[in-house]
């Protein structure tokens, strides 16, 4: 595991970039715990300050330090991504593995339902949920809600892996030695699918971060919790564009773009590494 990461880090520039970005933002998330200001408080610092040594990115119209605000926002957005991704991973793995292994009519029914979740326009449905829940939306609830809708595509991917795994010799050995279906899938098949789970997790986190930004811009999340989305929301509410307070509006936008690009490169790099055909090409190129 460690060696693979090191090799990819040295050989694949996309991995180098993505990994650096991820590590950087994770470190920032931990540093944000030391924040000297209360992020919910308004007017904790003087308003409208330009960048200076004391406030490296200046302060905004509601009296918050933009740099610390952005760091806490990064932490919260990553946390939200982790919660939602964890939930949708569990659903995707259970659905994909069981449906692929069982096959037959069970598989058909489950797959028709999964396809429906792929096709359905999730954005309006999430808005419906968020509007009704508005008052009680906190990070965890939002993570659970987004997680419940983001599993379908990956379930399909995991299932296709299982379809080939279950024809292999060791599956039959396991069946004949009397292991239960659940155990076979969990202990024999899951380890094979696990690298793929990693790659899809990153993609899912990207989707969740984007969804959070979109819901927040509509005012449909807990606007007191700083996240990348709520930072943009407040900046726009206070007309940061017209006041030309670029330090306020562009900080969250830049973080969002860099974070998503980094994660995306990480995931393309990993999934190419996992695909034996492209790995052969890499070897041939030298």
């Amino acid at each position: 595991m460690f060696r693979v990461i090191r090799d990819l880090y040295v050989n694949d520039r996309r991995f180098t970039f993505g990994f650096t970005v991820l590590v950087f933002f994770v470190i920032i998330s931990f540093v944000s715990l030391l924040s000297p200001y209360d992020m919910r408080a308004w007017n904790a610092v003087p308003r409208y300050l330009p960048p200076s040594a004391k406030h490296p990115l200046g302060t905004n119209s509601i009296g918050q330090d933009i740099m610390w605000q952005a760091m806490v926002a990064t932490k919260n957005s990553l946390l939200l991504g982790a919660i939602a991704a964890a939930i949708s991973r569990v659903i995707a793995i259970v659905v994909g593995l069981l449906s692929g292994y069982k096959g037959g009519i069970f598989d058909r029914i489950v797959m028709v339902m999964t396809d429906s979740f792929i096709i359905l326009p999730m954005f309006p449905i999430l808005i419906l949920i968020a509007t009704i829940l508005r008052s009680s939306l906190n990070m965890v609830v939002l993570g659970v809600v987004i997680g419940l809708f983001g599993w379908a595509w990956d379930a399909r991917l995991f299932r296709s892996q299982i379809l080939s795994l279950k024809e292999r010799e060791f599956t039959r050995t396991a069946v004949f030695s009397g292991l239960s279906t659940f155990k076979i899938v969990l202990t024999e098949h899951l380890p094979y699918v696990f690298p793929l789970v990693m790659a899809t997790t990153i993609n899912n986190v990207i989707w969740v971060i984007g969804m959070e930004v979109t819901l927040s811009m509509l005012g449909l999340s807990n606007l007191n919790t700083p996240t990348i989305g709520t930072m943009i929301y407040w900046a726009l509410q206070y007309q940061a564009i017209f006041l030309e307070m670029w330090n306020w509006i562009l900080t969250p936008v830049t973080i969002c773009v860099v974070l998503i690009l980094g994660l995306y490169m990480l995931s393309t790099s990993i999934s190419e590494y996992l695909d034996p055909r492209t790995r052969l090409q890499m070897i041939r190129k030298g």
């Binding site: 954005f123 008052s135 979109t214």
Partner: protein
């Protein structure tokens, strides 16, 4: 053919409809807060004094309107009955106007945006993808690939916002919001059409930028297998012009899967159109949804949901039904 292709597609279509519409029915009833109480408390917080019997009467009316009367199962049957007749109930903030009328007014804008952005991104993405594969050593092709793939994962909202800041604020060549300028006479004349295009340019551009990536990637993957096929090698060996090989041999064969990809992405792209409209205040369904969120018009949000589900799944069905006409391999299976 009928049994193997069309019947499963129809089953899929009705399942999507059923699951989607049931979700929209179940979600508000599963969640702890009650839309009727929510609506009532909103009205009371606006400072109106209502005596208890009036509140009771209001509650009764609202429950009737929202189809919340009777047992859950009865409500469910009633819900589908109303949907079949195209009745989505009245909008709450613009009271007796039916939700359906509001949707019908904003639908052409969204359809126009979707149609324009999809056709442009499909053509550009497909052609660029084909060229990228045909000229693997070209620096320019690689640069284009890097740019396209770099924008692809960024959320619709961020791309629209950045374009808005760049081309409507810092360098104001395009208007910031709206579908057409105030004071321009609506009609089929050059001035109005130009104005329309100027307003639609940035929304379409931001959607095209993101959507190109998907078509490009898929085209690249499919075409890179085709390049190694014997008939392409043969065409190259017999000295056919490169342009002919690229367009007639490689792309013609890689185009078909591009259409299946479309059917699966249509829900995502539709959501993107809604987001883009909100950023540019473009008067389509997305903006309608936004105003519904701002005013807490729960029935309008429900209606837009129902309409999106029916619209997206029907579009998918149409694409699936046309598909065999385009691909002889499916037709003669």
């Amino acid at each position: 053919m009928l049994k193997k292709y069309y019947i499963p597609r129809l089953i899929q279509y009705f399942t999507v409809l059923f699951i989607g519409l049931t979700l929209v029915f179940v979600i508000p009833r599963l969640l702890p807060s009650n839309p009727v109480e929510h609506q009532l408390s909103r009205m009371m917080s606006q400072g109106q004094y209502l005596d208890p019997s009036a509140i009771e009467a209001m509650r009764e009316t609202l429950e009737q309107l929202y189809g919340l009367k009777g047992g859950t199962f009865e409500q469910y049957i009633d819900y589908f009955k109303r949907l079949f007749t195209g009745d989505l109930g009245p909008s709450f903030t613009q009271f007796p106007t039916p939700v359906m009328t509001l949707i019908r007014q904003s639908l052409p804008w969204t359809v126009g945006l979707l149609f324009a952005s999809l056709s442009i991104s499909w053509i550009v993405g497909t052609v660029l993808g084909g060229i990228r594969v045909s000229f693997p050593r070209s620096r320019l092709a690689r640069l284009i690939e890097l740019l396209i793939m770099g924008v692809r994962p960024i959320p619709y909202y961020i791309v629209s916002l950045v374009l808005l800041i760049l081309f409507a604020f810092l360098w104001p060549v395009f208007p910031m919001s709206g579908g057409y300028s105030m004071g321009v006479k609506v009609g089929f004349n050059a001035r109005f059409i130009l104005d329309l295009l100027r307003h639609a340019f940035l929304p379409i551009l931001s959607m095209v930028i993101i959507e190109i990536g998907g078509w490009f990637l898929q085209m690249r993957n499919v075409a890179s297998n085709i390049v190694e096929e014997d008939y392409v090698v043969y065409a190259e060996a017999s000295g056919l012009p490169k342009a002919k090989i690229v367009f007639m041999y490689i792309m013609r064969n890689a185009i078909i899967p591009q259409i299946t990809g479309f059917a699966l992405n249509i829900g995502f792209i539709f959501g993107g159109a809604l987001i883009t409209e909100i950023v540019f205040a473009y008067p389509g369904m997305g903006y309608l949804l936004y105003s519904a969120i701002l005013s807490g018009d729960y029935n309008l949000i429900m209606g837009i949901n129902v309409f999106s589900i029916v619209g997206v799944s029907t579009a998918m069905l149409i694409v699936d039904l046309i598909y065999p006409l385009l691909d002889p391999r499916v037709r003669y299976q």
